[in-house]
């Protein structure tokens, strides 16, 4: 069912935890669906580089693996690069997900954007993120 990469990230998730003085924190998902992802970002206000990122996830194997993989993919990257990260790229980086689990990668993308939105609010920078976008997120 799951690729070796998914199982690896599930078993040894990278960047688990909280960041005390996070620049932005995003939480998406709900208990009804059984997936909640929370992402913490530490952003360098000068360079716009994501210097640290952690997550906490309640969810299935794919939810944990996509959370872990997405933190790896943006750590050390710029905000712009992070904004361009798509759910498909996360899934691809894990060598794919079962069709019924693709929504987990969407959730990971959402968690990241939610954390960036929080940073946008806190920092006053305009990252082009809009609160409303999170309502009708495109779940493929």
């Amino acid at each position: 069912m799951y690729t070796d990469k998914v199982l690896d990230h599930f078993t040894n998730p990278r960047n688990v935890g909280e960041i005390e003085d996070a620049s932005g924190v995003g939480e998406v998902g709900n208990m009804k669906c059984g997936d909640i992802m929370k992402m913490y970002l530490k952003i360098n206000d000068e360079t716009n580089v994501i210097e640290d990122v952690t997550f906490k996830t309640f969810g299935c194997g794919a939810a944990i693996a996509t959370s872990s993989m997405s933190t790896e993919m943006i750590k050390g990257k710029s905000i712009d690069e992070a904004l361009n990260l798509t759910n498909r790229a996360i899934a691809d980086a894990l060598d794919g997900l079962p069709p019924v689990k693709m929504h987990c990668s969407v959730l990971a993308e959402e968690a990241l954007k939610a954390a960036l939105l929080d940073y946008q609010k806190k920092s006053g920078k305009n990252l082009g993120l809009n609160e409303d976008d999170f309502e009708d997120w495109d779940e493929e």
Binding site: Y2, L7, F10, T11, P13, V16, E18, E27, N30, M31, K32, C33, G34, D35, I36, M37, K38, K56, T57, F58, G59, C60, G61, A62, A63, I64, P98, V100, K101, H103
Partner: protein, 394 residues
Amino acid sequence: MRRVYLDHGATTPVRKEVIEAMMQVHSEVFGNPSSIHSFGRPARKLIEEAREKVAQAIGADPKEIIFTGSGTEADNIAIIGGARANQKKGKHLITTVVEHHAVLDAFKSLEKEGFEVTYLSVDGEGAVSVEEFQNALRDDTILVSVMHANNEVGTIQPVEEIGKICRERKILFHTDAVQTVGKVPVNVKEINCDFLALSGHKIYGPKGIGALYMRRGVRVQPLYHGGGQERKLRPGTENVANIVGLGVAIEHAVAEMPAESARLEKLRDRLIEGVLGSIEETRLNGPRTKRLPHNANISIEYIEGEALILSMDMKGMAVSSGSACTSGSLDPSHVLMAMGLTHTTAHGSLRMTLGHSTTDEDVDYVITELKPIVDKLRAMSPVWERFQKGLPIH
């Protein structure tokens, strides 16, 4: 690594005697049971012998047993076939919210055909109430289906009482006994049922074989059409080997039941106590006593079931969960939700079903290995974080 199979509710290994019997059929009795020559006649004979064994196991007459391709098929023939054959008498049906999908989805499809279905609720332990059932009865009720015991939480239902009331009112009563045969006594006369479904692969028999008990005189409309096999209700060349396998399996299952169920019950209780005692924020789902002897269903709060299964699998423990993701759907178990569990609690459920292979060492292993797994997943869980910080869990 130790391998501990605790998913006997999903399926069981095929017992040695069954494999041997089936192999012999495959290699020696290959004829078509409908053929009248000397290659076909022994095959027919084997089928009838197996039919006797199945009948005997549940207190029925061999003529009342129909072999099917699965428990699902047996459920469908009873419910859809029974309802359609009797629709002139009425259009109202009754079942429960905690049935297996083989039953529930059959009723859903009947709703599309114009039948009205009442779904009985269950209490916090998964049990239906005879009183609610009686209140649901109508003059045009023609068929009732209540499972003998639930596959997820092991709750045993008051089928005898419900069956008695149905019999008095001449309403057809079906019970899905897929989980009870070989675990608790199953007798069609005591249950007062008109139909009963069972399946081979839950009792150390092969997959792909089931049986339907259909009381003498009861008629159903066939769902498939073709040859005259199994009283035209399950047309198609008979799966002789699997039929023989089911016969052998059920004979053993019933014979060993008293001792084996007592053994499993003890192990199960130790398992439940061990887990509840060593891990905080856990609860037993389903009743403490009136439950299947081999079933332990425990909610481990604030972590998700699939993640738990995968983590346990990596330590050699095979279990299942009533959670969402296992089935590819996002809904948590309809059974646990019907019992009033919150989404959080339902998502974190763990079903461990014991069987032949289960030993004291297995139970010890699970009790020892489960805690670190739960700790790790909780450390990762934002919901556990909320709980610990005293924040509301949404």
